[in-house]
């Protein structure tokens, strides 16, 4: 379905070429292949490779910052020969591996005394956070606010799964919130604009608010059954920016209407929920964390992207999994699907 939408987005228009569609199509094919392949690969191998993988990823991120291709106001892509890819997408995967491995080695600990409480915190909270933070910072510097926040979200959810006591969790979140005002200043102006516009899109209808207004128009005008494939006027006539990436959902909303949108959401829901079902039955810690990690990425990306596109969240540049154009992203997701499939398999047989 994502493919169909992409076709529409790139159909007959000057800005985004059809190439996008073919690229994604290729990746889809490739991805499917990888997925099936990974289905057979024991995911526990990743366990072993986790740290190495992560370390590599960090390096890649560093490279990107220094020598990456500059596009759309950010350095996010690495070029190797004729191909380019986004390390930040990979980072999601590697983070899951790392955190998965790390957390699966911890046992839920009890608080004995103060000294060990600190140790506890350190082990269970701070150290993993620091691990994550490295990636977050590197990605933030690209600058890619969306993905860095995403990583933070992944961390939070996985942390939650570890069973860390609530008060620590609360405390941690509290601390983070307290830091927000400081964070405000680190934000670049356009990011600040996005937040302000989120609160009221009409402040700047031709600038920052334009996208959201257009996006809502697109979605809303689809009404029940949409305007028909390839017939979305907002989309075809170039009113909607970024429609092949962040705003692909708007295209779907416009062309397939409420029914189409619900169908898509349902697909995602099924995917996520099956993840839950698998997770519930797992005993293997690593597997559990991997699964939850994957699930969390899915949840976060879907919810934030759709919310963003509808004006429920500020625009942060999160793409819609498997639908938005992004070859690295697509492949990474296919990898994740493959891993899930493998975990599922193992579950059934163990």
């Amino acid at each position: 379905m994502g493919l169909a939408a992409l076709y529409s987005a790139s159909f007959q228009n000057i800005r985004v070429t059809q190439q996008v569609f073919y690229d994604q199509l290729f990746c889809a094919a490739l991805g499917l292949g990888i997925m099936y392949f990974l289905k057979r690969v024991d995911y526990r191998k990743f366990y072993d490779l986790a740290y190495i993988f992560y370390g590599l990823n960090i390096l890649l991120l560093l490279f990107v910052l220094m020598m990456g291709r500059y596009a759309l106001g950010a350095r996010r892509w690495m070029e190797i020969g004729a191909l380019s890819f986004q390390p930040s997408e990979l980072a999601k995967l590697s983070l899951i591996f790392v955190l998965g491995r790390y957390f699966s080695n911890r046992r839920p600990t009890l608080s004995f005394n103060f000294a060990s409480k600190a140790q506890l915190l350190f082990r269970d909270l701070i150290f993993p956070f620091l691990l994550t933070a490295v990636s977050i910072l590197l990605i933030f510097k690209q600058p890619d606010l969306g993905t860095s926040l995403l990583l933070f979200g992944i961390f939070l959810i996985m942390l939650f799964v570890t069973g860390l006591e609530y008060r620590y969790l609360m405390g941690f979140t509290g601390a983070c919130l307290a830091l927000m005002p400081f964070a405000w200043h680190i934000l670049k102006s356009y990011q600040k604009d996005r937040l302000l516009v989120f609160l009221n899109p009409n402040i700047d209808p031709l600038g920052a608010g334009y996208t959201i207004i257009q996006s809502k128009i697109a979605i809303g005008s689809g009404q029940w059954a949409g305007k028909g494939w390839l017939a979305g006027t907002q989309n075809q006539l170039n009113f909607l920016p970024e429609r092949h990436t962040d705003f692909i959902f708007s295209v779907i909303g416009e062309e397939w209407g409420l029914l189409g949108a619900i169908f898509l959401m349902y697909c995602y829901f099924v995917l996520i929920d099956s993840g839950f079902q698998i997770a519930e039955q797992l005993k293997d810690k690593f597997g559990l964390f991997l699964t939850m990690g994957i699930v969390s990425i899915l949840i976060l990306q879907v919810v934030i992207n759709v919310g963003m596109v509808m004006g429920l969240c500020p625009v942060v540049g999160i793409t819609l999994p498997l639908a938005s154009y992004g070859r690295t992203s697509f492949l990474v997701f296919m990898i994740m699907m493959g891993i899930l499939l493998n975990i599922n398999r193992k579950r059934l047989f163990s």
Partner: protein
Amino acid sequence: MRLKIIRLSTIAAFIIILLNLIYIQVIKGGYYFDLSLHNRIRLLSLEGPRGRIKDRHGKILADNRLSYDAAVVPWGVDETQPELFSFLSKVLSLDQKKLLEKYEAKRTASFVPVLLAEDISRDQAILLEENKYRFPSLLIQEAYRRQYPFYAEGAHLLGYVGKINRLRMEELKEYGYVPQSLFGYGGVEEYYDAYLRGEEGGVQIEVDNRGQQVRLLGLKDPRQGQDITLTVDADIQVSAQRLLEGKSGVIILMDADNGEILGLTSAPTFDPNVFLNPQARREVSALFSHSSSPLFNRAIQGVFPPGSVFKMVVALSALSTQKINSRKTFFCPGFYELGGMKFGCTHEHGTEDLEGSLAHSCNVYYYNLGLLVGAQTIYKYAHDLGLGSLTYIDLPYEEKGFVPHQQKGLLASGQRWYAGDTLNLSIGQGMTLTTPLQLARMMALVASDGKQVHPHVIKMIGEKSIERYDSNKEIPLDKNILKIIQKALRQAVVDSSGTAHALNVEGLYVAGKTGTAQSSGKKENHAWLVGYVKGKKNISFCVFLEHGGSSYNACVIARDLLLDLRGKGIL
């Protein structure tokens, strides 16, 4: 378990999304749909051609002619720009740089053509059109331009058209006028603009986010406005205008029984075609600043002292109030003395009766009458005869003139009414002012035994004839008295010593009254000749020469006019 928490939160999140989707797509779906349409659809209006103006026999007095404009559509200009403009400058013989400047200054959206040259010749248009394959953004637009085939004859009657000005725009924008609309100025063009206006059509096009035209969605053809048929006879109009050539004055001919205007001319006149000629700007401003005010319609806007013509009013008032009868005489020694001052008369008339006094235009008789009757009474009858009020002719800017009121006038100017003022009033001098049209109407009233008609210039709008002009009034005057006046007027023409004797044309029953009115300052007197012709039609007329000297001059013109019309078989 914790997993459950996450799971439930996820479900909650999805539900929120779902609800919001429903909100946006279903509840506010229509609203957003409209917005999406609005984004992409633009309307361009196309103006319809104006209705024509025809004379009573169908001759076209105001028409539209096809003209060509050269325009350039900005979309797609970039690549061919320098060659396009050098080509244009060569064909149109216009400076290339100026063309470019004009283009840059006037361009708006990329699908709106920029007008670069108006009313180009047909050859130029053909040449440009032939080269369109080279320059696809070149556009030859057809437009309708107003044309007046009779040029200056009838200019005041017809008026002219031009682009609407801001003041009128403010008042009329609810009726659909836009800044580029054409509007009539003066005459029938202005008064009936609402009918003459073409009906707007439009083009509905789809644009993308850069405002570029993607395709044509709909076309509504503009329609021509309604034609208007005048009561005026072009032959009469032309004859009249020619007789006034080189002079300053008015000729009006009106059907005495129904008020149809057969001819209405004012001189000096102008050629209304210049207002539509973009090359003729200088002529236009010359018209506006010319000292003899050629744009001024003296027939209805000009107010002048009626002079001896007013004596009819005095006679009527005297007879109607029975201060005298028709046989009353007065002696005229050539002057009249009052309060130590001598008020003059043109001749020594000796003993005159009423008929003679009108036929010979004796001032002394009327000085006597005036004092007998009193200024108040004269005022009343003047108003009964239609002086001092509007005739409500269907042309704009009519003036209503002025008849002094003995008491009210005092309050206004603060001066006493002297007997001398009555004397002046009796011979139509002093503060009295009338328009030529009022006098023509008055003559019709006399000729028709008391019927005051409503002068009008149009007969039909489109295919419908105008029936409402039976707002003719019967003025309560004694018919016998009117007959006396009629006889006197006839005498003025028939009697060899009558002041209007020049009008005695064989075979025509003509009656009339001359008037020589002193104008202020050192200028020549005004010359009046008003009267009527009874025959196939009863026609009342008024000939006026501003500073024309003796009324004899007006008589000559009137006679030439009558002869001319008889020759054409109209009389």
